[in-house]
C-alpha cells in the first residue's frame, strides 16, 4: 500500500480498525516478573502508520507491554516473556534475533526526557554512528539537521548544536529525544508517557509533533491522559490488570465503548 492510500485510509476513519495493514502483532503474550504475572495473554495488532494509544490505570501493565515490543524488558533480569511478538511477520523473541537491529527498527522515547550528557549534535549523531549508517561528516550533518527538523526543534537549536543537550528545557529535551529516535530511521516509535514530565504548552507541542510523524512511522503511545489519547491516536487499547479489555478505533472507544469497564474508566468512575 502506498503512502497516499494509507493517508486516505486514515482519513476514511469509518472502516473497521483491523482493515489497516499490521506492522506489529502480539499473540497470546504473557510477561512475568519472577512469579508475578504482569501481562496476561494479550493479543493485539498494531497498524502501520497510525498512532495507537495504550490507556489504563497505573500498574495495569501498559508500559510493561510497550517495553516488550522492543525487548527493553531484557534489561530486567527477572522478566520473562511468553507468546509471540511479530514485527513484519518475524518473531522478535526467536533465538538468533539481533536485539541491536530490532531496536534500530523499533525506537523508543521515555517518560522522562533522557538526553545524554553530550552536545545536541552528538545526541542525534549517537544512533547513526553506532549503527554505522554513515561515515561521512557531511551525511551525518544532513541526518542531524533532518532529524531535528522533523522533531520541530531545528529552528530553536540550529545555532547551538554544540551546547549540552541537558541544558535545553524539558519540552525541548523530549523533542531532542524524539529526534534522536528518528535519526536511525526506525519503522516503529514507542513512546512511554512522553508528556508526563512536561507542562501543557510543551505537551501540546509534542502532540502536534506526533500528529506530524504519523503516516511516516507506526507510533505506539502509552498515556495516562485520556484527552491525550483521544487527541493524538486513531487506535486505542484499554489495559486493565494485565489484560486488554477493549481495543478499537479511538472514536469508538471514547464515544461508544462496548465494555462496561472501559466506559467506567473513560468517564472517570475509577482508575
Amino acid at each position: 500500500m502506498n503512502a497516499e492510500a494509507i493517508q486516505t485510509a486514515v482519513k476514511a476513519d469509518d472502516k473497521p480498525y483491523f482493515d489497516a495493514p499490521s506492522k506489529m502483532s502480539a499473540k497470546n503474550v504473557s510477561v512475568f516478573y519472577g512469579e508475578k504475572r504482569a501481562i496476561d495473554d494479550v493479543s493485539i495488532e498494531i497498524p502501520q502508520r497510525y498512532v495507537t494509544a495504550f490507556i489504563g490505570p497505573s500498574g495495569c501493565g501498559k508500559s510493561t507491554f510497550l517495553r516488550t515490543l522492543n525487548r527493553m524488558n531484557d534489561t530486567i533480569a527477572s522478566a520473562r516473556v511468553e507468546g509471540d511478538i511479530l514485527l513484519d511477520g518475524e518473531d522478535i523473541y526467536k533465538s538468533g534475533m539481533d536485539v541491536v537491529q530490532l531496536r534500530a527498527r523499533v525506537g523508543m522515547v521515555f517518560q522522562k526526557p533522557n538526553p545524554f550528557p553530550k552536545s545536541i549534535y552528538e545526541n542525534i549523531a549517537y544512533g547513526p554512528k553506532i549503527h554505522g549508517i554513515t561515515g561521512s561528516k557531511a551525511e551525518l550533518d544532513e541526518i542531524v539537521e533532518q532529524s531535528l527538523r522533523r522533531a520541530g526543534l531545528w529552528d530553536e537549536v540550529k545555532d547551538r548544536l554544540n551546547d549540552s543537550g541537558t541544558a535545553l528545557s524539558g519540552g525541548q529535551q523530549q523533542r531532542l529525544c524524539i529526534a534522536r529516535a528518528i535519526a536511525v530511521d526506525p519503522e516503529v516509535i514507542l513512546m512511554d508517557e512522553p508528556c508526563s514530565a512536561l507542562d501543557p504548552i510543551a505537551t501540546a507541542r509534542i502532540e502536534e509533533l506526533i500528529d506530524e510523524l504519523r503516516g511516516r512511522y507506526a507510533i505506539v503511545i502509552v498515556t495516562h491522559s485520556m484527552q491525550q489519547a483521544a487527541r493524538v491516536s486513531q487506535r486505542t487499547a484499554f489495559f486493565h490488570l494485565g489484560k486488554i479489555v477493549e481495543y478499537g478505533k479511538t472514536s469508538d472507544i471514547f464515544t461508544n465503548p462496548r465494555e462496561e469497564r472501559t466506559k467506567d474508566y473513560i468517564t472517570g468512575r475509577y482508575g
Binding site: N70, M72, T75, A77, V99, V100, Q101, L102, R103, A104, G107, M108, F110, K112, N114, P115, F116, P117, K118, Y126, G127, I130, H131, T166, C177, R180, A181, V184
Partner: protein, 460 residues
C-alpha cells in the same frame, strides 16, 4: 590527688545534684497540683548536674596542670633546696628523684642531696592536693547551689540543657579540625627551621640525597636534594601503582555494575572491599617476600642483570593491588549514580551494552572516576609500609623500575627513627618532606572533593 579520684568526685556530686534537682522539680508539681513545668524534671536534673560537673572538671584539669609548678616552687623555698647545684641537668635530675620518692614511685635516692628534699616534697604534695580537693568541692557546690536556686516551675531548663548539648557537639566536631591545624602549625615551624639551614631551592630541586644524621658542623646543602625522593614517590605511587589500579579497578567496577548478576555482585563487592581493610604491613610482607623475588627472577630471566631484590616495580605492583578497592568503589558508585534513563536511552537506540558503557556511562561517570583516582593517588603516595619493606632505601634517580628506589615517606621514617638530634638538619628534613607530602595530598583531596561536588549537582 590523682585525677581519677577528682573525676569520680565530680561525677558523684553531679549525680547527687541530678537527683536533688529532679526531686525538687517533682516537688513543684506536688506543691501546687495542676502547675505545668516549663521543662520535664529530668531537664532540671541535667541542668544542675552540668553546673556541678563542668566547672568542677574544668577546675580539676586546670589544677592538675598548675599544681606541679606550685609544688616545685614551694619546695624551692625550703632550706634543703639551697644544697642543690645552681642549675642545669643535675639539678633537674635530683628534683625529679626526690619527687618520685615522695610520691612513692621510687624507694630510694641515688644522689644524697636529693634525700633532704623528699620530706618537703611530701609536705608540699599533701598541702596542694588538699587545696585542690577542697577547691574542687567548693566549685562544685557553688555551681550546684547557683543552679539549684534558679529552679522554678517556669524555669527554662530544657533550652539551656539543649544549648549545652549543642556546645558539646560543636566541640566534638572542632577536635579533628583543630588537630589538623595543630599538625600544620608544627610542620610549618620545623620546616622553617630546616629551611634556615638548607636552602629551599637546594631541597626542592637538588638531585642528590644523602643526609648524614651523625655529621657535625654546617650541613652540606647539596646532600638535601629531594628530587630523587619525589621521583621515587611519583614513580611508585602515581605511575606504577596506577598502571595496575586504574584498569583493574575500573574494569571490576564495570563488571560489577553492568554485567554481574545480583548473586555474584553480592559476593564479589564485599570481597573486593575487604582488600581495603588488609593492614598495609601485611601487604608489605607480601611485597617483600613474594612479589619482589618473583620480579627479580623474572627481570633476570629476560636479561636485566641489574635487577635487585628491592625494586620500585615490586612495591608499585602491590600498592596498585592495595588501592584497587578505592578506585573500583568510587567508580562503582559513580557508574551506578548515572541514571538508569541514560542506560535505557542508549540501549533503546540499539546500542550494545559495551557501547553504552563506553559512550554513555563512562563519560557521564568520568568526574566521579577521576575523583576516585585522585583519592587513590593521594593514598598511594602517602603509603609507607609497603615501600619501607619492598622499595629500598637508596635514593636513585632512575627510570628503571627494577632498581631500588626510595620515597618521601620512607625517608621521613628513616630520618625520625635514627639517633640524630632535633637540631640537626637531617632530622628536620623529615618535617620539610612531610610538609611537601601534606600539601600534595591536600591538593589532590581538595580537587577530588570539588570534582565530586560538581558532579553531584549535575544530576539533581
Amino acid at each position: 590527688m590523682s585525677p581519677a579520684i577528682l573525676l569520680l568526685l565530680a561525677f558523684g556530686l553531679s549525680l547527687f545534684g541530678w537527683l536533688a534537682a529532679r526531686s525538687r522539680a517533682w516537688a513543684f508539681r506536688k506543691a501546687a497540683p495542676g502547675t505545668r513545668l516549663h521543662s520535664l524534671p529530668n531537664f532540671h536534673g541535667w541542668y544542675v548536674a552540668l553546673w556541678i560537673g563542668v566547672p568542677a572538671l574544668l577546675f580539676a584539669v586546670l589544677w592538675n596542670a598548675i599544681s606541679p609548678m606550685l609544688i616545685t616552687s614551694h619546695v624551692m623555698a625550703d632550706p634543703a633546696a639551697s644544697l642543690l647545684p645552681g642549675f642545669g641537668f643535675e639539678r633537674e635530675t635530683m628534683l625529679a628523684e626526690a619527687r618520685a620518692v615522695a610520691e612513692g614511685r621510687a624507694f630510694g635516692v641515688f644522689n644524697e642531696e636529693a634525700q633532704g628534699l623528699v620530706a618537703p616534697y611530701r609536705a608540699a604534695i599533701t598541702l596542694y592536693d588538699s587545696i585542690g580537693l577542697v577547691v574542687t568541692i567548693l566549685v562544685a557546690f557553688a555551681g550546684g547551689a547557683f543552679a539549684f536556686l534558679r529552679l522554678k516551675p517556669d524555669f527554662t531548663a530544657r533550652t539551656r540543657v539543649e544549648r549545652a548539648v549543642m556546645g558539646l557537639l560543636l566541640i566534638a566536631s572542632l577536635v579533628a579540625i583543630l588537630t589538623t591545624i595543630g599538625i600544620i602549625v608544627s610542620l610549618v615551624f620545623e620546616t622553617v627551621r630546616f629551611f634556615g639551614m638548607v636552602s629551599p631551592l637546594d631541597f626542592l630541586f637538588g638531585t642528590h640525597w644523602s643526609p648524614d644524621p651523625m655529621s657535625s658542623g654546617t650541613p652540606d646543602g647539596a646532600d638535601y636534594g629531594a628530587i630523587p625522593l619525589f621521583w621515587g614517590t611519583i614513580y611508585i605511587g602515581a605511575i606504577i601503582a596506577m598502571i595496575v589500579a586504574i584498569p583493574l579497578g575500573l574494569m571490576s567496577a564495570i563488571f560489577l555494575t553492568q554485567y554481574a548478576s545480583n548473586g555474584v555482585r553480592k559476593v564479589m563487592k564485599p570481597l573486593l572491599e575487604i582488600l581495603a581493610g588488609v593492614p598495609t604491613v601485611v601487604y608489605g610482607y607480601f611485597a617483600a617476600l613474594t612479589v619482589a623475588p618473583m620480579v627479580r627472577d623474572a627481570a633476570q630471566a629476560i636479561g636485566i642483570s641489574s635487577a635487585s631484590t628491592e625494586s620500585a616495580v615490586a612495591a608499585g605492583l602491590v600498592m596498585g593491588v592495595m588501592i584497587i578497592p578505592f578506585v573500583s568503589s568510587m567508580a562503582d558508585d559513580s557508574i551506578a549514580a548515572v541514571p538508569q534513563a541514560m542506560r535505557d536511552g542508549s540501549l533503546a537506540m540499539g546500542a550494545t551494552t559495551s557501547e553504552t558503557i563506553r559512550k554513555v556511562l563512562i563519560p557521564a561517570a568520568l568526574p566521579g572516576i577521576v575523583a576516585g583516582v585522585m583519592l587513590a593517588v593521594s593514598r598511594a603516595i602517602g603509603e609507607t609500609m609497603i615501600v619501607v619493606m619492598a622499595a629500598g632505601a637508596s635514593a636513585n634517580l632512575t627510570a628503571n623500575p627494577f632498581e631500588s628506589m626510595t620515597t618521601v615517606t620512607f625517608q621521613i621514617v628513616a630520618m625520625l627513627t635514627g639517633e640524630g638530634s632535633f637540631d640537626h638538619p637531617a632530622t628536620l628534613s623529615a618535617f620539610a618532606l612531610g610538609m611537601v607530602l601534606f600539601l600534595v595530598t591536600l591538593t589532590l583531596n581538595f580537587i577530588a572533593l570539588r570534582v565530586v561536588k560538581r558532579y553531584r549537582e549535575a544530576y539533581e
